[in-house]
Amino acid sequence: MKHSPHVSICIELPLIELRPEGLYCPSGNFYVDPWKPVERAVVTHGHADHARWGSKFYLCAKPGEGILKVRLGKDASIQGVPYGEAVHFGETSVTLYPAGHILGSAQVKIEANGYSWVVSGDYKLEPDPTCAAFEPVRCNGFVTEATFALPIYRWAPDSVTFGMINDWWRENSQQNRASILYGYSLGKAQRLLAGVDRSIGPIYTHGAVERLNHVYRSEGIALPKTTYALAATAGKFAGSLVVAPPSMNGSTWLRRFGDFSTAMASGWMQVRGHRRRRAVDRGFILSDHADWPGLLQSVRDTGAETVWVTHGYIDPLVRWLREQGLAAEGLATHFENDEDLQSEPLDSEPITS
């Protein structure tokens, strides 16, 4: 987790500025992903470090509404707008475009006086059957994440990675072992479920995952049949796949599964040291964030003259972009840059499935 020193931002026509509450648009009087309660919040996606509790009004992409409700509570005032449809706040117009990160994730395009900024939140360029594909948006200023902004991070095509996951599951299945696959319960878990070969065996889930599966299915996302693990009879897990949040590794929750092998699906698995520290049997490199070539390509595709870089390997990306002749700045936000360690709600309320 790297933090760059706070950089004071000074550009012409500031459509956004950094305030103690978060990224703020003065001409439209709203915040994007504020980390403190504010009047009006435009939310890029439902992960805990972007969608925080306590603001008065929330705006998000239509497909993400259900997720936000689960995360922020039924009483939160949430308005969902379809991708590509402009909403007007003061002098500005706000349009959401798919970010390809998780279901309902959006890039926020802010326009005023023929000048535009895009706050991209978290994003990836790889296709993902559980959410709309990332759409490059032309703009003058671009705010990008930098979770994996080092050239050591280059993702293989999904088909290759899922081939490896399926092989691992199949082999465990033949040995009558359960396969415990860890992935963040919102987004990563559903992408895993949609991508594995369901013919290998039954699939069980942790409560936190199952709860979000409901939301995904109600948004029309096709997922294979899953069973909430606590609702299943013990001793039936041999040969099955169990999808659970990473925090379950090494916990007593695993006892019910008998003989099993563990694996973690994350971009961090690219590096051997991370893999070994995780103490899992296998690490599969699968991320919902852009890799190095993806970050560079998306910056290029926006055509932006100014790039602000937040959370992750900020300094290397800023320096690289500057060496390419762009005006780049690091931005000290409160977004987390670890796709596995985000504090996620793990209360597994009973589920009827």
Partner: protein, 523 residues
Amino acid sequence: MKQFAELYSAMDSTTKINIKVSAMEKYLQAAPAADAAWAVYFLRGGKLCAPFPSKMMRGWAAEIAGVPAWLFAECYESVGDLAETAALLLPDAPEQDGLGSLTEWIESRLIPLRGMAEEDQRRLVVDSWQQLSSAQRFVWNKLMTGSFRVGVSDGLVMRAIAAVSGLKVEVIAHRLAGAWKPSGEAWIALVSEESSDVGQSQPYPFYLSHPLEGEPELLGNVTDWMIERKWDGIRAQMIRRGDDVHIWSRGGEILTERFVELVEQAAHLPKGTVVDGEIVGWRDNKVLPFADLQHRITLKRPSRAILDKIPARLLAFDLLEWQGRDVRTLPLQERRALLETLPLHLSERLHPVDWQAARQLRLGARDFLAEGLMLKRMDSEYGVGREKGRWWKWKVDPYSVDAVLIYAQRGHGRRASLYTDYTFGVWDKDKLVPFAKAYSGLTDTEIREVDSFIRSHTIEKFGPVCTVTPQLVFEIAFEGIQQSTRHKSGIAVRFPRMARRRTDKSPADADTIETVKALLLST
């Protein structure tokens, strides 16, 4: 190369011993003899001299990857391993099958690399990268930089060889002892039923002890045990066979040339004798500090002056071969009796009347610069490897000092990108002076806590090292202490590690340099 890289991945991705052993068995069964030999060599930690300084590989990899030096450095800092950083950065190439046997890769590429002109080295290395996948490149880079390491003990490698050959582990251990040179013939000799017996210079596998936990009374009668001091030196076997003398370290190194006085002494032994003991520095009738011996051991052919200043002595404690016969299965007391008839310096046998008296001897061990006592059952055979029950080491409790974390540095490998290497200070009046560095002793959870403390309490950075607000207190344990002119604090400690974090203490409660120096006097 492909199969060897797969073997590495299989072993690296599991912590389960059985899976590691069966992966080795599978490889050794299928591999051509010479490949099996090289694999065994590397699995056991064998290294070839790096053909070029690692910074050259760094330069070539950055160039091929199109990454500027600063960015390579950022990646390296994050990954913590040069071979891996290079492997991850190199672009995918069209032919990445890792074709060719391990032997070809080692004997036709790696070994010839040494002594090539730089431009030829570059061409060969870049060409080799073209033919390997990222995982294979990692293994290859590790081999080239002499940093290949697999988390597997020698015992497990031998277990796999034993399973493949159908021979006993003891036989494999004996055949492998000493400097085993990998080749197809060597592998065949290693695993064949009637292998030509052990070579003239071959040592026996060393028998190792376990640390004693709990009270010695549990071991029964004190008179059933042979008790000696545990010397802090170099464990070695002295071999006299025919007209030759060989001296082997436990690490499998030949020390013969380094200890001319021992060779001279061994020449007086009857032919067909193998003695086990500890080499120590010895002058004026007492053992010299280990640091002296350490200085001497670095010299291939020590000068007359060094020989006079740090004379070596083998303190013999066991007899493995007698009149050309392997006597390891005789009871220890019989072996010792035979040993005592030889012209040797023996490790003194102690005769405490009871365990209470033994405790006193243990407490006094440091007066002899010994680490504690060795307890060996009188009737014990000389076994293989480390077993529980027959030989125990009973070390003196370590020294301990409370010190404050003042500097931190990122770790390597598994601990890359975490601050895991710490420097600790003790008070010298109102200043903290660095007195020891320690890397080990914390759990992964504690490391993460300390790491996040360091990140939020960094005062200044000097390259990879940062100074930290002095706030965390640790109990530092260590085995020995000596005066030193090379250290700021004027002292050097041996085997320092973190015994525990003292959350109950504030920096002001940490020890002073005076208390630490007082420990010097107690030795």
